[in-house]
Amino acid sequence: MQLSRDELIQAYRKMATIRAFEERLHDIIATGEVAGFTHLYCGQEAVAVGVCEHLAIEDKIVSTHRGHGHCLAKGCDVTGMMKEIWGSREGLCKGKGGSMHIADIDKGMLGANGIVGAGAPIAVGAAMSCKLDGEGRVAITFSGDGACNQGTTFEAMNMAVVTKAPCIFVFENNHYSEHTGFEYAVGTQKDIASRAEAFGMKVWRADGCDFFAVHDTMREILEYVRAGNGPAAVEFDTERFYGHFEGDPQNYRGEGELDRIRDTRDCLKIFRQKVTEAGLLDEAVIDELNEAAEADVDAAVEASRAADRPTAEDVLTDVYVEY
């Protein structure tokens, strides 16, 4: 644990914000107030934050359909995001993209993506750009265990190796792609990392429910990639607390599975336990951070409810720069 107190606080605050954001959405979506296909990131916070805490604005990330956590970790505005999910004209994407398409180019966040596997080639391009600029920047693509079966993901890995692009493939193995188990859909039945390795990359593996494991691993990887060694890949073992999308009853889970992962694999609990046991942060500080996160989300929800709605004319704008 090489982190300062401030860094610990910042990291936990981000994780707590993601958690609060997602749990609130879970409740609100159940009421029908917010529409659309929403995929919650709850349970995987340690990955997004453990990765993004290392990044500068000039580093790029490309995300997935389950993108809220990555967006928040990379610095997207909580209220701007909530408004977007609400479909407001004041949302980060003017209500045109919604949950699956949140982007904030100025923050180096090149977009969530509704097409599974589509992000990886885009990240390779962003990494090529970093290489051209020669300033040691990197591009990171997040992919699920399901996405790792999409041809584009494979092509991207090979292309990154061939072009020595400073691209980092972060695989979040949460054991399910929709209703289908990882052991079923990934032929090796073992892991994702060794497939990445077979494309000629150096790979890492770590526990994605332990912020410190993620953070330490990423430090190593970033050192390696920023040094000009080409791409790398990492597989984080993690857990998804809610259904694939909101509304999924999760019949496919084993008995007691959800209780077990909530109990033993909750990255926020694990973080709290580690830092309090090590005497780095008090329970009270953590509680405060949780409350602050909730307050942020309260404010975001309130602002979203009050925010401008788009109008029919807005449909036609933003297609081209010039047409």
């Binding site: 659309g36 699956m100 999409q150 289908t180 036609l316």
Partner: protein, 336 residues
């Protein structure tokens, strides 16, 4: 007669054909669902519930869950069909033709021709298309405008549970590749479906309402939109001849031309964006083959030339509405 939902019509028809013909196999993402289980309640049968129960009945050899690999799904369907099987592959969203188009366009659609007529490739690719669910730009699209132009494919767009029954049977008993386009906003729609083993031939349009003032053509979800407009028009004494194409390839040209010959006025309703679309396709057909009957400019009610937006207000504005159709009907009638 039985009342059933559109999605059940899909499921029942597949189940029956699997029973009739053991070469029918189903594959796709989560068409079993809940993998790791032995079926039963965990097997959700696809996110649209269009294959619920099939796994329990026909087992893992004929109901096959796949990884998220659409090119391989459609490609496997191609290989199965070339080998004499009748695959029914599901693309969870029609938008995913983006990652599998080669296998649809350059493989399945072209085998018979490239191989000099010496093979059949009766692959059925089912896919859920269309807007209305706040699913935004990558999960709400129409694709019939892309697929209809591709020689070798047949394109089916049922608008009712009854049509699903009759058209899917025809698809599953025919010898050509069929793109079976199911509108996701229709899955929960209920309708009466006649009993018995009847089919609906392709290129056989359905007259939804009859009238002599304006011809309106629609497909899929747009049929209901147009019907609402036709009903409103009828109240104002305007007779709408509403044609549901059912299949866009092959096309029932006769039904269209015969109707326009009577009405002389045409409104086309298409959920897809305007350029190089089915709307333009039908307009061109009429401007070429029924020109002398035409009394007014051809009106097209379509989505705009934009991606599908997310927010409800935007999506509602994006999609053609009964009001849009009525306005177009009035416009064409006002032309002298």
């Amino acid at each position: 007669m039985a009342k059933m939902m559109y999605r059940d019509a899909v499921r029942l028809t597949i189940a029956e054909e699997m029973e009739r013909n053991e070469s029918v196999v189903v594959l796709g993402e989560d068409v079993v669902g809940g993998m790791g289980t032995d079926g039963g309640p965990e097997a959700i049968g696809g996110i649209w519930s269009t294959s619920t129960g099939l796994f329990d009945k026909f087992g893992p050899n004929r109901v096959i869950d796949t990884p998220i690999s659409e090119s391989a799904i459609v490609g496997a369907a191609a290989g199965l069909a070339l080998s004499g099987k009748r695959p029914v592959a599901e693309l969870m969203f029609a938008d995913f033709i983006g990652v599998s188009l080669d296998q649809i366009w350059n493989q399945i659609g072209k085998f018979r021709y490239m191989f000099g007529g010496k093979t059949r490739c009766p692959a059925i690719i089912r896919m859920a298309y269309g807007g209305g669910y706040n699913a935004a730009a990558q999960h709400s699209q129409c694709v019939h405008q892309i697929l209809t132009g591709m020689a070798g494919l047949k394109i089916v767009m049922p608008s009712t549970p009854e049509d699903v029954r009759g058209l899917l049977r025809t698809a599953l008993r025919g010898d050509d590749p069929v793109m079976f386009l199911e509108h996701k906003a229709l899955y929960a729609v209920e309708g009466e479906v006649p009993d018995g083993d009847w089919t609906i031939p392709f290129a056989h349009a359905r007259q939804v309402t009859s009238g002599e003032d304006v011809t309106v053509i629609a497909t899929g979800l747009m049929v209901g939109i147009a019907e609402a407009a036709a009903e409103a028009a009828a109240e104002n004494g305007i007779g709408v001849d509403l044609i549901d194409l059912r299949t866009t390839s092959p096309l029932d040209e006769e039904a269209i031309l015969d109707s326009v010959e009577v009405t002389g006025r045409l409104v086309i309703v298409d959920e897809a964006p305007p350029r190089c679309s089915l709307a333009t396709d039908l307009a061109a057909l009429v401007a070429n083959k029924a020109f002398s009957s035409l009394k007014a400019p051809i009106e097209m009610v379509t989505a705009p030339h934009t991606p599908v937006p997310f927010a409800s207000e935007l999506e509602q504005a994006y999609l053609p509405s009964p009001d849009d159709v009525e306005a177009a009907v009035r416009k064409t009638l006002a032309y002298r």
